[in-house]
């Protein structure tokens, strides 16, 4: 009998195949002994310290708070996800178990995918715990809307990609330096590398999940547009498939022709998905209430979200806000009342205050007193208890009062910036006087130095504010038109 003559021995009937139960048991073993849970205490501390604290400094609005998932929580996670995934990818080399694993029937690719899946499932579990805490607290505070899931989906997809890239790096480069370099690279890529690589103004930069902080009222008046999120998902999932398929392609993976063909198909599918996302993002255009990708756009999302405003009274005038601001209505009426009381029944004084959307991309948006009877259209940026970006209750009050005063005196339109009052010196002095009567102190210059223009305005403002309220009201009634036209000088102010 020669080597080639011998007939093949019949296969035993219970020769195993990849049964779901076997794969599940493998996954279970990997889940139980994965290194990722070791990172959880650190990630929990970072979550509390960074994204959660930041989110609690925002107003209780779902889309605003959810923005920390991509801007803060993702960057906090990615370094450790990439590093630990690289660590797990290098396990067989570090532990000298390659021969043992290679001598088994399952392709090494299957074992690797199981290890990667376990690592990524732990990552997802940790991330979702953070989401649950954030969304749970927000649910107890928000008075409108519901938790947005697109940021969660996109963040999970990015974490899966980072995990896959780190795992592949660890598999192909099982060096002790792979984990820290993977961590560094992931953080760099996530935070800024992508945007800088394609140019900040390029539409392709939209594919990076990290974005700027949205306006407070995002998702309140108009629907969140998921076009970019869909493209991001396609891109991230596509690249993840490519990264995983790469593990199964090399000859050394000993994956056999069928698994290698499957890996090749997966890689091509992943590239196609990512390429399609890139192509779609190239057609993106910024519109009034979000970024639109025509092929992915649902026109139903363009319609405003209907709502019934919640109203209160300030100096006898109705002040109506979006239901999401329900809890802040008392503070807003308290802030507006001192100004409204001073200008009630004057020409152009608002008979009503309506909150409108904060969106400076539309010229017709922004603060204005319009209509008959006049209505103050007031975009509200921030809340009294917001502490992000240096805001506090005082800045919120200042914003509301300054906006009303400026619009009333100057007749301006648009977004009132914080800082010195707008208009001519005469107009500025009247604005400052009205604000002082509402509770804002007029800043004085240092004694003894040469008086500046601002000092002269402040002096005139104090003089005007010192008048009895009835006299001041009467003067404004007589001189408002000239004041608004800019014809009143500081010397002409009483």
């Amino acid at each position: 009998m020669t080597l080639t003559d011998a007939p093949a021995r019949p296969r035993p009937s219970d020769a195993g195949r990849a049964s779901p139960m076997s794969l599940w048991r493998l996954l279970w073993l990997e889940l139980r002994r994965n290194a990722m849970p070791w990172m959880f205490p650190l990630l929990a501390a970072l979550f509390v310290f960074d994204p959660f604290r930041t989110a609690m400094g925002y107003g209780p609005f779902w889309d605003l708070r959810a923005s920390v998932l991509e801007n803060k929580l993702l960057p906090d996670f990615v370094a450790f996800v990439a590093g630990v995934a690289a660590w797990m990818g290098s396990r067989d080399s570090r532990r000298h178990t390659r021969d043992l694993v290679d001598a088994t029937a399952r392709p090494r690719w299957t074992a690797q995918l199981t290890t990667w899946a376990a690592t990524t499932l732990w990552v997802a579990a940790g991330f979702l715990c953070c989401v649950a805490v954030l969304y749970g607290v927000t649910a107890s505070q928000a008075t409108w809307g519901g938790p947005p899931w697109w940021p969660v989906a996109v963040s999970l997809a990015e974490l899966a990609l980072i995990s896959a890239l780190g795992f592949a790096a660890g598999t192909f480069f099982p060096s002790r330096f792979t984990a820290p370099l993977a961590a560094l690279g992931a953080f760099l890529l996530c935070l800024e590398g992508f945007r800088n690589a394609v140019g900040r103004s390029s539409g392709y930069a939209l594919l990076s999940p990290t974005t700027s902080v949205p306006d407070d009222d995002t998702g309140l008046f108009h629907h969140y547009l998921p076009d970019v999120s869909i493209a991001q998902l396609m891109f991230l999932i596509g690249l993840t498939l490519v990264a995983l398929a790469i593990l199964g392609l090399p000859r050394a993976a000993d994956a056999g022709p069928r698994p290698r063909r499957a890996a090749a198909v997966i890689a091509v599918a992943g590239l196609a998905a990512a390429g399609t996302a890139i192509g779609l993002t190239g057609t993106a255009r910024t519109e009034a209430y979000g970024t639109v990708i025509p092929a992915l756009h649902d026109a139903a999302n363009d319609r405003p979200i209907p709502y019934t405003p919640v109203c209160g009274q300030a100096a006898g005038m109705p002040v109506c806000v979006h239901p999401a601001y329900r809890n802040f209505l008392p503070a807003m009426t308290a802030d507006l009342a001192p100004v409204l009381r001073q200008i009630v029944s004057l020409p152009g004084a608002p008979a009503r205050v309506d909150q409108v959307v904060v969106n400076d991309l539309i010229p017709s948006n922004g603060a204005a007193i319009t209509g008959v009877p006049p209505v103050l259209r007031l975009p509200v940026s921030g809340t009294p208890d917001e502490t992000s970006f240096g805001q506090n209750a005082g800045t919120f009050t200042s914003y509301l009062q300054s906006t009303l005063v400026t619009l009333f005196v100057v007749g301006a339109r648009g977004f009132v910036s914080m800082g010195p009052p707008a208009g001519t010196p005469g107009q500025q002095a009247v604005e400052l006087a009205l604000l002082q009567q509402a509770g804002t102190a007029i800043q004085t210059g240092a004694p003894g130095r040469q008086p500046t223009k601002a000092d002269q305005v402040a002096t005139a403002a104090r003089r005007f504010a010192a008048m009895p309220a009835a006299a001041r009201h009467a003067w404004l009634a007589d001189h408002l038109a000239a004041l608004r036209a800019g014809h009143i000088t500081l010397a002409q102010l009483p």
Partner: protein, 222 residues
């Protein structure tokens, strides 16, 4: 073979005095120690960090202005510190610990030498470009974060010690944006801030002492 041919061994010659690291076997011992810690690979990884820093400066990968512009250099410095921290890991374990008196000196020299090399490489990477904070910042930031990594290596092992500098870097990013003033967040402080330099120096020294005396713990969980 019988015992007839066997003779009593010669009396052992008196043991020669231990030789210093500067003897002819010293450089060989140093070279072998560096090879065991993969120091050539570490230098290559540090050079890569320097190249990334240079690319970031040339192509203006800045994350913003003011303190925001320092976020990227701090990230790269943390990467360098992470690389130094993982070199503390010993592949030998107990057999190496049960040797003579040279191991602490070798550990000390490796840690200090790599920190100096990292500083030199990053400074070279930033040469002739505008680096926010300057080279003093590199030295202070990286030395402090290296200390964190070496301290963590003594506790949980060299293989995962990179998590220390990375976690500290994330805290620092927050501090840079928020203009924190605590000297313990030294990357957020100006380059000539004595308090920050002192804190970074203390942490660096603590890390060096831990690495010298204890070395990296063997982590055998996964």
């Amino acid at each position: 073979m019988t015992a007839a041919g066997l003779q009593k061994p010669e009396p052992r010659a008196e043991a020669s005095r231990p030789r210093g690291l500067l003897s002819h076997s010293g450089p060989r011992l140093v070279r072998l120690h560096l090879a065991s810690r993969r120091v050539p690979g570490a230098l290559a990884a540090l050079a890569l960090c320097a190249l990334v820093l240079r690319a970031a400066l040339i192509w203006h990968w800045s994350l913003g202005n003011g303190n925001g512009a320092q976020q990227l250099p701090v990230l790269i410095e943390a990467g360098a510190a992470s690389i130094i921290a993982v070199t503390a890991q010993s592949p030998f374990g107990d057999p190496e610990r049960a040797t003579g008196r040279w191991l602490p000196y070798l550990r000390l020299g490796t840690a200090v030498g790599l920190t100096a090399a990292a500083f030199g490489l990053l400074a070279a990477g930033a040469a002739a470009e505008h680096l926010p904070g300057g080279t003093l910042d590199i030295l202070r930031n990286m030395a402090g974060m290296t200390g964190i990594g070496l301290l963590l290596a003594a506790v949980i092992g060299g293989a995962l010690a990179w998590t220390g500098p990375m976690a500290y870097m994330i805290v620092t990013q927050f501090g840079l944006i928020g203009d924190w003033t605590s000297p313990w967040v030294w990357p957020a402080r100006p380059p000539h801030d004595a308090g920050a330099a002192l804190c970074a120096g203390l942490v660096f020294v603590a890390g060096i002492v831990a690495a010298t005396v204890r070395g990296a713990r063997a982590f055998r969980e996964v």
